[in-house]
Symmetry: C2
Subunit: 251 residues, 2 copies
Amino acid sequence: MLLNTLEPLSAYVDTSSIAPALPRSRCDTCHLRTANFCGALFDGEFAAVRAKHRSTAARRNIYRAGEPSEGVLVVCEGWAVRFVQLPNGKRQVLSVVLPGDLVSPTGLLERQFSFSIQAVTDVRSCFLPFAEVRARMRDNPALFDIWLRLTAAEQRDADKRLVDLDQRAAQERIAALIVHVLTRFEERGEVHNDEFPFPMSQQQIADFTGLTPVHTCRVLSSLRKHSICDVGHGMVKIADRRELQRMAAIK
Amino acid sequence: MLLNTLEPLSAYVDTSSIAPALPRSRCDTCHLRTANFCGALFDGEFAAVRAKHRSTAARRNIYRAGEPSEGVLVVCEGWAVRFVQLPNGKRQVLSVVLPGDLVSPTGLLERQFSFSIQAVTDVRSCFLPFAEVRARMRDNPALFDIWLRLTAAEQRDADKRLVDLDQRAAQERIAALIVHVLTRFEERGEVHNDEFPFPMSQQQIADFTGLTPVHTCRVLSSLRKHSICDVGHGMVKIADRRELQRMAAIK
DNA sequence: CGGTACATTGAGAAATTTCAAAGTTGGTGG
DNA sequence: CCACCAACTTTGAAATTTCTCAATGTACCG
């Protein structure tokens, strides 16, 4: 469907060989394994899993639209974005993928996708083989339920995002992104001193919000100037949470 | 979640009693039954179905966000829109529902939704009881497959729509909507003389595309002036299909 | 130390919104 | 059958948001 016709060739190269120095790890040592889909999928028997792990350097593609997919993708460590590359060179980021996220619940049994996945930071990811997932879904109704819930949540998110992009001003869209990530990090207890990781570049924020990088920069400057929050250098520091949440709230 | 806090109270009233004069019909006489989800669901045994049909007058709500849902909604006749009503009075139309469409495949087992459904024309709809659908899904793997495919398609559509709204100018968004409907009517052989039904008001088109009604009007005028297509009076007449499709194409 | 990617700033242009008013249409009751 | 009403459509002018182009500044990596 949509192909990444204008991406530099380098993005197509298999990056396994030039992977960053992440610890070689497996599902049975994953510290997220009790909290996510993997946890339900393997139900304790992590040692038995033959999932294929891969490391990808920041800014490289983990999956490219149209390629045959090796299995269900889970991002174990690092941030990624799910995006489509338009023929005219623009990009639309569809969603941000945080550690532990199943990339596309709805696409569970699809063998190829119309979107690509790019690593934002260095990423360690995991392809759960289709056959394994399907077999376990058949045997395990609870797992099926979890998957149903993830699927419904994904669709709700897509609807929410549509409203976001269509009805809201630049500042509100960016605030909504920051609050979305803030919320997710807070659930995991990973926010300290109102500060948390935020490795997306302004270009990536722009591709997510549908703004130009220039305008994104102006909005971020304005947020900084008004002492609401400071985005940069891979982190966000929240200064006025009340105001930020007011901006992010749907009106 | 999102409630329709600003809708006039009249929209909340049960409309069954003031329903329009549509023929009272049932699934076993539905002329769409071989082509859609219902067809697969009942697999010929239409007489046995105890689905609850309802008629709704144009511009009234079929379902309102947050209400307990009676079952899976299928629109049998007429057009509807799936939308969210924002607290500030704006509306976002998430998708257009044409005759025979299952409203939200992904929400198959959800008991309530965060969106509402409004009838565009007079509508006859059908709530398939959850229990019935679930039972038949269990017994019938082929049905389950169809449902999987519908779900994946819904998510793909949502992604496509995100790109549409975020990356494209007013004219292109409107062209894309017209071509989308054109394509669906053409599949059913319901386009004659480059003309087909299009009962959405400019306000509804605006809510779908995220534009103001005023700007929507200007764009439609411009399409008319340039002899590309003429939208109005419940119909579209295509004058320059090549150009319209060029405008609707993703660049 | 140099390069490349990333961030910032300015000024002018373009698309879209807002506000306001006037025209049209279709349906309803008299 | 007409008159009226309400909802929908059209048009104009000014304001606002966001984009584009272009130049300069900054940080990190090898």
